[in-house]
Amino acid sequence: MMENRKTTRWIVLAVFAFLVACASAPPPRTLLDARAAYRKAQSGSAASLVPAELYDAKVALNEAEAAYNDDPEAEKTVMLAYVAQRKAEIVQAQATIKEAEARKKNATAEIQELQAQGLQLAGEKLSQARQQLAVTGKELEAERKAREAAEQRAREALEKVAIAAALAVKQEERGTVIVLPGNVLFESGKATLLALAQQKIALLAEQLRSQGQEGAKITVEGHTDSRGSDASNLALSQARADSVRNFLVSQGVPSQNILAVGIGEARPVADNETPEGRANNRRVEIIVKPGEPR
C-alpha cells in the first residue's frame, strides 16, 4: 500500500515537471517581434489617428497568441505572428501618414495666408509708389512751368533792354541773340570799344549779370565783312569779341559764363558786295542761352 502511494507521488511529480517544461518553451522570435511592433504602435499616435486599423492589428496579434497557445512550434503560429507584426508596422506607417497630412494641411493654410499678406503688401507698395510718382510728376511739371516762366521773363527783360539801347534782338534756337552793329562799336579795323558802344553794352550788362548768375551761357561772337584776308578778319573778329567780353566782365557779368568767339567773315547776314551789306556783316552778336535746370 505504501509502495503504491510512493509510485503515484513520483508519477504526479513527473507529469508536473513535464508540463512545466512544456509551458516554459520560449515563444518564437516572430511572435516576440509582433508583440513589440504592436506595443510600439499602441504607444504612439495610432490610437488616436487610426484606431480601427490598430484594432485590426490587435485582432491579428490575438490570433497569433491563440495559435501559440495551441501549438507553439506550428508553422501556422509563425505565419500568424508574421502577419500580426506586419499589420502593426502598417498601422504605424498609416499613423505617420495622417500626421504628415495634418502637417501639410496646416502648412498649406499658412502658405495661403502668407500669400494673401504678400499680395496685400505688394498692393500697398505699388499704391505708395504710384502716389510718390504722381507727386514727383506734379513737382516736375510745376518746376518746368516755373523755369519756362522765368526764362520768358528773362527774355522779355533782355528784349526791353536791347530795344531801349536801340539794338536788334531776335529769338533763335540757340537763344536770345542781340546784334551790336560794328560801326557803332569800333573804329574801322580796330578792336577798342567806342564810348557810345560802352554805354549801350553797359545797359545790357545789368540784365546779363543777373542771368549769368542764374547759370545762363553767354557767347560773344565777332563777325567781319569779306574785305581783307581770312586770317586778318578772323583775328579782328576774335579781338572784337574779346573786347566786348572783357567789358561785360568789368561790368560784373560772371566771367566763367561768357565765351568770346571770332567767326571772321564766315557767317555773313547780308551781301558783301554793297556798302550797306558789308556794314551789316560787321557786327558783334551776344547770344544768351538760359541755364539748364539743376
Partner: protein, 123 residues
C-alpha cells in the same frame, strides 16, 4: 472474412483522399497578393528603400507559393501568400508614408521661404 475487407476499402480510400488531398489551391489569395504587389510597384515602392525591401519579400513569397502549389502543398502555399499579402500592403503603406512626409516637408519649407520673403519686404 474476405467480403468484409472489400466493404471497408472505399471508406479507407476516401479517408486517404481527404487526409492527403488537403486544402484547395489558394487561387484567390494569389490574385489578391499579386494585385497588392502591382499596386505597390505602381505607387513607386521600388524607389523607397524600406518599401522596396518589403516589396522584394512579397515577390519572393509569391514565387515560393507558386512552387508549393506546383508540388500540391496548397496549405503551406496559402500561408506563404498571407505573408506576401501583408508584405505588399506594408510596401504600399511605407511608400505612401514617404510621399506624405515629403509633401509635408515641402509645404513647410515653402512657409519658411515665404516668411523670409515677407521679412525682406519689411513686414
Amino acid at each position: 472474412m474476405r467480403r468484409k475487407i472489400n466493404l471497408w476499402t472505399p471508406f479507407f480510400t476516401l479517408f486517404l483522399l481527404l487526409g492527403c488531398g488537403g486544402a484547395a489551391p489558394p487561387d484567390r489569395q494569389m490574385v489578391s497578393a499579386e494585385a497588392a504587389i502591382r499596386a505597390a510597384q505602381e505607387l513607386g515602392a521600388p524607389n523607397v528603400p524600406q518599401a522596396s525591401l518589403s516589396l522584394r519579400q512579397a515577390v519572393g513569397q509569391v514565387d515560393k507559393a507558386k512552387a508549393l502549389m506546383r508540388d500540391g502543398n496548397n496549405a503551406r502555399a496559402a500561408m506563404m501568400l498571407a505573408r506576401a499579402q501583408v508584405d505588399a500592403e506594408l510596401a504600399i503603406a511605407l511608400t505612401k508614408e514617404n510621399t506624405a512626409k515629403a509633401e509635408a516637408q515641402e509645404a513647410e519649407d515653402t512657409v519658411v521661404e515665404l516668411k523670409n520673403k515677407m521679412k525682406s519686404l519689411g513686414r
